[in-house]
Amino acid sequence: MKQMLLALSPTPKQSFENFVTGQNIEVVHTLEQMIRIELSIHFIYLWGNEGSGKSHLAHIAFDHGFIIHDDVHLLDDQGQVELFNTYNRCKESQQNMLVTGLYSPLQMELREDLASRLAWGITYEVLALSDEEKKLALQKHANERGMKLNIEIIDYCLKYLKRDMPNLFSILEDLDKWSLTYKRPITLPLLKEIIAANKI
């Protein structure tokens, strides 16, 4: 029998502990330094492909009092002016700020005055994880949710599914929900059922 779940199962809070660093070790280091106010720089711009971990880092920064703006490439003219003003105010008061976008500062056809400001602090490309690192991230994520995840399931995901992290995490969440709802252990057949159901 299907058991109704109470709202969503709690998603673990994003932190440095559950961030799989991969090649982004220097970004993490710099962000930690900014949080501890060990740098004279108060602005950081992170860019990179979707699913590379920018929002995760933005969440951490937010929890440490940063002003955050995600996805700067989506801003319209008015939004850009507002961000420009926010930037100036943060700069004036030495308030830490983090902005993310899909591309490097000058490649988004933003207002020049905004783009040059995005480039003014410190800029990092956040690099996506390798397949091995993705496996580690999935395992970590599953552990935090109290899920028992067999390595064969992770291997299957990486072979047959789109391998960007948002997609992989969402599969993991579906697995968790289905197994709780239908009281079934997490197995390969269950995963295949979910994939089939998602395709419909």
Binding site: N49, N85, L106, A119, E125
Partner: protein, 463 residues
């Protein structure tokens, strides 16, 4: 005679940049008085500059075209004051606001001199950032004029050029320069009432005053300043109430010989959406341009900034960065921040290799993830085959090798799954793709020439 002057203008227009022409030659007036040519400049600064640099040329042209002329004289056109007073009288009468004599002088109480807390608060409300000084401002051909004018104004506020209007592209140091004026005046006249603000902040102050019906306090605040520094005035575009308020503030301050300094991204006459009467006023004093820094200046900026961070970079590295980043100073500073961070983190010295690596994050054209179409095209071009052949069922080694390489690269550089890759390569089964990836992994180890092909292709695709 008028022909003579228009000929002069034509000559200068050809010889000088538009900005130079607008700053120096355009504001000049020409008069012929019997055998004297009079060149009238709007102020002393322009007069001196024109006399020093262009007198020779003007005299030469005069000898050519007006052989009777005995002398060319350079004087100052004293219309600003009279014009201002005439217009001001009308405005004051119509609106009965802040007659000049009643404008409150900046009052500094004794406590503000003694109490450190109060002074700090003053600094905070003044909007000045003490890091922006003349000492830390790197000058070069691109900004020496603006810098010279700024220094003069900071020594003689309200007297030299009022307003001082500084214009130029983004990230060239306009804010630094006008903040330096404020900081210098604060230093030599600690009691001076100074306010630096971005134009957008002024706009929101107007909105607040409107909402709270507190225009009297607003006016009192702005009209009683000794020095008003206002950044990016182009943000006033289409904000009519703001422009009106600023018009009053401008007139009140100029009339009281209080200094106004304005920055903008364009020449006064070219600011869109701003009232003509304001634009005219902006060019009453001195208008100077800041141009993008040339290579040597960019190098000097980097060396100075590195020194400020207690880091050493070689001239070779500075030249390398300066050649990569050409457009503005903010990006230069951002580049240096990134390089210093990388050097600190990796505990390695700053050389060209480290610099190259660090700059990638700032100036990379695109992300390192590439599309499958791009991979197919690049690999096909590399092996000089057609994409259609690569995607076909043809089994000849000429096609199968590039195909396998391309599939393996796709697996590595994209997030596609094996079945998706098979689909993208002519509808192949996913096991074919898995086999190709395994094969290429083996070849990588055993076949140096294919390994080299792979290396080159990856490098091209990753950029």
């Amino acid at each position: 005679m008028e022909n003579f002057w228009s000929h002069c203008l034509e000559c200068f227009k050809k010889e000088l940049s538009a900005q130079q022409f607008n700053t120096w030659i355009k504001p000049l007036k020409f008069e012929l008085d019997q055998q004297h040519i009079k060149i009238l400049a709007p102020n002393k600064f322009v007069q001196q500059w024109v006399k020093d640099r262009f007198a020779h040329k003007i005299e030469m042209l005069a000898r050519e075209l007006l052989p009777d002329v005995a002398k060319v004289e350079f004087t100052i056109l004293a219309i600003n004051d009279s014009l201002l007073h005439k217009k001001e009288a009308v405005i004051s009468k119509a609106l009965a606001i802040n007659p000049p004599n009643n404008v409150t002088e900046p009052h500094v109480t004794e406590t503000s001199k003694n109490s450190v807390g109060h002074i700090q608060k003053e600094v905070k409300t003044s909007g000045l950032n003490s890091h922006f000084t003349f000492e830390s401002f790197v000058t070069g051909k691109a900004n020496q004029l603006a810098c010279a004018a700024a220094m003069q104004v900071s020594e003689n506020p309200g007297k030299a050029y009022n307003p001082l209007f500084i214009y130029g592209g983004v990230g060239l140091g306009k804010t630094h320069l006008i903040q330096a004026i404020g900081n210098h005046l604060k230093h030599i006249q600690p009691d001076a009432k100074i306010k630096y603000l971005h134009a957008e902040r002024y706009v929101s102050d107007v909105v607040k005053a409107y909402e709270n019906k507190s225009f009297d306090a607003f006016k009192k605040n702005y009209h009683s300043l000794d020095l008003l520094l206002i950044d990016d005035i182009q943000f006033f575009a289409k904000k009519n109430r703001t422009q009106e308020e600023f018009f009053y503030a401008f007139n009140a301050l100029i009339e009281n010989k209080k200094q106004i300094i304005i920055t903008c991204d364009s020449y006064p006459k070219e600011i869109g959406g701003v009232d003509e009467r304001l634009r005219t006023r902006f060019s009453w004093g001195l208008t100077v341009a800041i141009e993008p820094p040339e290579l040597e200046m960019r190098v000097a900026i980097l060396l100075k900034k590195a020194e400020g961070n207690k880091m050493k970079i070689s001239e070779e590295v500075a030249f390398f960065i300066a050649k990569q980043i050409r457009s503005n100073v903010r990006e230069l500073e951002g580049a240096l921040n990134r390089i210093l961070a990388m050097s600190n983190f990796t505990k390695s010295t700053i050389d060209i290799n480290l610099t190259k690596e660090a700059l990638k994050d700032l100036i990379a054209v695109r992300g390192r993830q590439v599309s499958v179409e791009n991979i197919q095209k690049t690999v096909a071009d590399y092996f000089k085959i057609k994409i259609s052949d690569m995607l076909s069922k043809k089994r000849s080694r000429n096609y199968s090798k590039p195909r396998q390489l391309a599939m393996a690269i796709t697996r590595e550089l994209t997030n596609l799954s094996f079945p998706e890759i098979g689909e993208a390569y002519g509808g192949r089964h996913h096991t074919t793709v898995m086999h190709a990836c395994e094969e290429i992994d083996q070849i990588r180890l055993n076949n140096p020439s294919t390994a080299q092909d792979l290396g080159i292709l990856m490098q091209v695709l990753r950029g």
